[in-house]
């Protein structure tokens, strides 16, 4: 058996599905050829890791969680379709965002109005702080 034949049969050899005479030939070749033995070693390593991962199990409540999510969906929207998923949802989101912005502007304007100072009487408004009369002008009276 040569290397090419050996590599071709290596999967079946590993799965133990080879005919006994072919199996003996592959085994004999693997003992002689270090490069094919290396390929076989890597093949075994890959299969070991995959087998180990395959043993992982989902948690026992996974199906319960899935079913309860679906039941909730049934309660909310009996027939979810293209309209609800792809059209109505973005439109509703856009409308609610526009409404929120509009309300924000209105509330902002209200707040600004309430913070404005009360209008001063005309005589007080005309007072020039920089040019106030001398105090003696009043004390001399």
């Amino acid at each position: 058996m040569n290397c090419r034949q050996c590599i071709h049969e290596i999967d079946s050899f590993h799965d133990e599905t080879l005919a006994p005479d072919l199996r003996t030939q592959v085994l004999a070749h693997l003992k002689e050829c270090s490069s094919c033995a290396e390929i076989y070693r890597l093949q075994v390593l890959i299969d070991e890791v995959i087998e180990q991962e395959k043993e992982m199990l989902p948690d026992p409540f996974l199906s319960t969680r899935i079913n309860s999510r679906i039941e909730k969906m049934n309660g909310r929207e009996p027939v979810p379709g293209i309209f609800t998923n792809r059209l109505l949802r973005p439109v509703l989101i856009t409308l609610s965002m526009a409404a929120a912005i509009f309300m924000g502007i209105i509330m902002g304007n209200l707040a600004v109005t309430s913070r404005q100072p009360v209008a001063l009487p005309a005589e007080l408004a005309l007072i020039n702080d920089a040019g106030l009369e001398n105090i003696e002008m009043f004390t001399g009276e």
């Binding site: 999967d11 290396e38 390929i39 890597l42 093949q43 390593l45 890959i46 299969d47 070991e48 890791v49 995959i50 180990q52 991962e53 395959k54 992982m56 199990l57 989902p58 948690d59 996974l62 199906s63 969680r65 899935i66 079913n67 999510r69 679906i70 039941e71 969906m73 049934n74 009996p78 979810p80 379709g81 998923n85």
Partner: protein, 196 residues
């Protein structure tokens, strides 16, 4: 009850009958997701997503293929989408300082009695996962469906919408690539050990 009978029941009368399909196929979806994600929590989340997606688009299932084939297709697509999202997140995380551990490290083997053997085993597991993850998309799908789900080339061909010959070629190339990548990783690890 056959799959098609359950599907008719769900579409026409009893929506809760979908739970029978969940019970029947959750293991299949989870195992395929594990093949792509290598993480049980992520695979469980993906299994949920797949069933929700299947439920929402059940009215589009025409019955041209079997329900399991259809479900495999949804699972493969959802897994690949998830991987793409993770790749983007991983790229973004390169620019962030984070103390979160790598989720893959949570799945490694620990044996306090034999730390050296544990280390080698964990390195091997990580090496095989990296090699699997670095395969081109189609080769990766073929190898996951073949090795994790134990599907025949004919079944893989149906899921991937291709010919048996193409699947055989994909599997051969995937195995060859895996061997090459593993040899390269091993050399790299040995060099690191020597330097240490």
């Amino acid at each position: 009850m056959t799959d098609n009978e359950i599907i008719n029941e769900v579409l026409n009368a009893d929506k809760n009958a979908f739970r029978f399909l969940v019970e029947r196929y959750q293991q299949l979806v989870f195992r395929t997701a594990i093949g792509f994600l290598h993480d049980s929590d992520k695979a469980a989340d993906l299994t949920q997503e797949v069933f929700i997606q299947a439920y929402l688009s059940l009215h589009r299932f025409r019955g041209d293929s079997s329900f399991s084939t259809w479900l495999y297709r949804i699972t493969v697509n959802a897994s690949l989408n998830k991987i793409r999202k993770f790749s983007v997140k991983k790229f973004i995380r390169l620019f962030e300082i984070s103390s979160d551990p790598d989720p893959k490290s949570l799945l490694t083997v620990t044996d306090p009695a034999n730390p050296e053997e544990t280390m080698i085993r964990n390195e091997n597991i990580e090496m095989v996962r990296k090699a699997l993850d670095s395969l081109p998309e189609k080769q990766r799908i073929a190898i996951v469906l073949g090795k994790y789900d134990g599907l025949s080339q004919k079944e893989i061909a149906e899921i991937m919408n291709t010919t048996e010959g193409a699947v055989e070629s994909l599997l051969q190339r995937a195995k060859m690539n895996l061997r090459k990548k593993l040899s390269a990783y091993e050399t790299h690890i040995i060099q690191n050990h020597k330097q240490a």
